[in-house]
């Protein structure tokens, strides 16, 4: 029988190893799998490479993971946001690496990784510093850079509802990077607001087919990251 539901966030992330490449969903506070990230902080894996659009805010979630020096390198498009101080501080001190990738190229590289496309060409970033050192090629007069697919050991994603096969639906703009990240990791771990019975999700409306999901954990009331940041909370909770 196929049953991808595990009983806790701690169980879900238990086998994440030092040096792993981890994709973390979310754009700003929307779609961030904050409970999975906190479980990862508790679990202790270090020397991680994290692929995520931003670097977290305040002292919770991804920012807390970075603050605890668990992340060796960030691959992201927008590390500097309003409430993001942890990453900028470490980066300025030279204590964390950054691979800056345009947002659309980041999404496409992740999709390519999941789709078995090792590399593709895009016009994005041509004639800018981000194209330096990259292979260029012109197609019908359009100069492009070659970009590589990205694959991860683990993806951490948040969704709205899931069934035991791992079929997922998301809530509004919290969908963002979730669907592509689910496809691109050896082990995709999803926190869902609710688990539903097989057949409750309309087969025409499934966003992530279960084949891309390995583990599910139900977190009925996920924390609102913006609120935690506004309240100046820190993880681990003090």
């Amino acid at each position: 029988m196929i049953n991808k539901i595990v009983k806790s966030a701690a169980d879900a992330v238990a086998d994440i190893f030092d040096g792993a490449i981890i994709m973390i969903g979310g754009f700003g506070n929307a779609g961030t799998p904050i409970e999975l990230i906190h479980a990862l902080i508790d679990q202790g894996a270090k020397d991680l490479t994290v692929v995520s659009n931003n670097t977290g805010s305040g002292q919770v979630g991804l920012a807390a993971l970075i603050a605890h020096k668990r992340v060796r390198k960030m691959i992201c498009s927008f590390p500097r946001t309003a409430n993001s101080t942890v990453f900028p501080d470490l980066y300025t001190k030279g204590e964390i690496e950054l691979e800056l990738v345009p947002q659309g190229t980041l999404a496409e590289r992740i999709r390519a990784g999941g789709a078995g496309i090792p590399a593709f060409y895009t016009p994005t970033s041509v004639n800018t510093p981000l194209a330096e050192g990259k292979e260029k090629r012109t197609f019908d007069g359009l100069t492009c850079v070659m970009e590589y697919g990205i694959k991860a050991d683990f993806s951490l994603v948040k969704c709205e509802a899931a069934d035991r096969y791992g079929n997922l639906v998301y809530n509004k703009t919290a969908r963002n990077f979730g669907p592509v990240m689910c496809t691109a990791a050896d082990v995709t771990i999803v926190q869902t607001r609710k688990i539903v019975e097989l057949g409750e999700i309309d087969p025409e409306c499934v966003v992530t087919p279960g084949i891309f999901v390995k583990r599910l954990v139900e977190i009925p009331k996920p924390a609102d990251e913006a609120k935690l940041v506004a309240e100046d909370r820190r993880y681990p909770w003090s």
Binding site: G28, N29, P102, T124, K172
Partner: protein
């Protein structure tokens, strides 16, 4: 400025608004026009800000502000969103700028200062993929330096990508043969404008 941009957005087009000043453009759509706003974090059919207390933390725009969705909207993931951008499906994008050159080069993501944390987001994808790029910006920096320059000194977002510049002083079209002033703010004359503009400006001949 935002109002001037809104006047130049025709009925029925798909528009992406950059973070900051560009977001204001949505407030000035002339009556009778239907414009569909794309936000690259996964929504086509972005509506105005919600009433206070009705925000959904999972319904935000690219600037991470709470928004609403209109009737006929749809949600999608990031790769599909950038299919719309890179695939030349978005008609107009309105962006802010640090500098615009007289050949339409845009610099709007980094001052290139050592130690600064560079953040690019979707800007390079937008200028590479959207059919028409409008820039909305103050004509000069706080220190009075021209943002419309001969050649950008900041790192580029894209080369020869800007179609029109909307500033507090003028509307300037970027043409293959240079910058052409289409309109000036009340009380500004061409010579005054050229004085505060590093790049060479041209007048349309009528």
């Amino acid at each position: 400025m935002a109002q001037k941009v809104a006047l130049d957005i025709p009925d029925g087009v798909y528009v992406n608004l950059g973070i900051g000043m560009p977001e204001l453009v949505a407030d000035y759509v002339p009556a009778g026009r239907e414009v569909i706003y794309h936000t690259e974090n996964g929504l086509l059919g972005m509506g105005p800000a919600p009433e206070v207390g009705k925000e959904d933390p999972e319904l935000i725009n690219a600037g991470k502000k709470s928004i609403t969705s209109i009737k006929g909207a749809c949600f999608f993931h990031h790769a599909d969103s950038f299919t719309m951008i890179r695939g030349r499906h978005i008609d107009i994008c309105v962006l802010g700028a640090l500098q615009v050159s007289q050949t339409g080069d845009l610099a709007n993501w980094s001052t290139g200062e050592p130690g600064a944390v560079p953040s690019v987001g979707g800007a390079m994808d937008l200028v590479a993929g959207v059919k028409t790029i409008f820039v909305i910006t103050q004509h000069t920096t706080k220190e009075g330096k021209s943002k419309i320059v001969e050649s950008c000194t900041y790192p580029l977002t894209g080369k020869a990508v800007v179609n029109c510049i909307y500033t507090n002083l003028a509307i300037i079209d970027v043409k293959p043969d240079g910058l052409f002033v289409r309109e000036m703010a009340p009380g500004i004359c061409f010579d005054d404008l050229q004085k505060v503009t590093e790049a060479r400006l041209n007048r349309y001949e009528y």
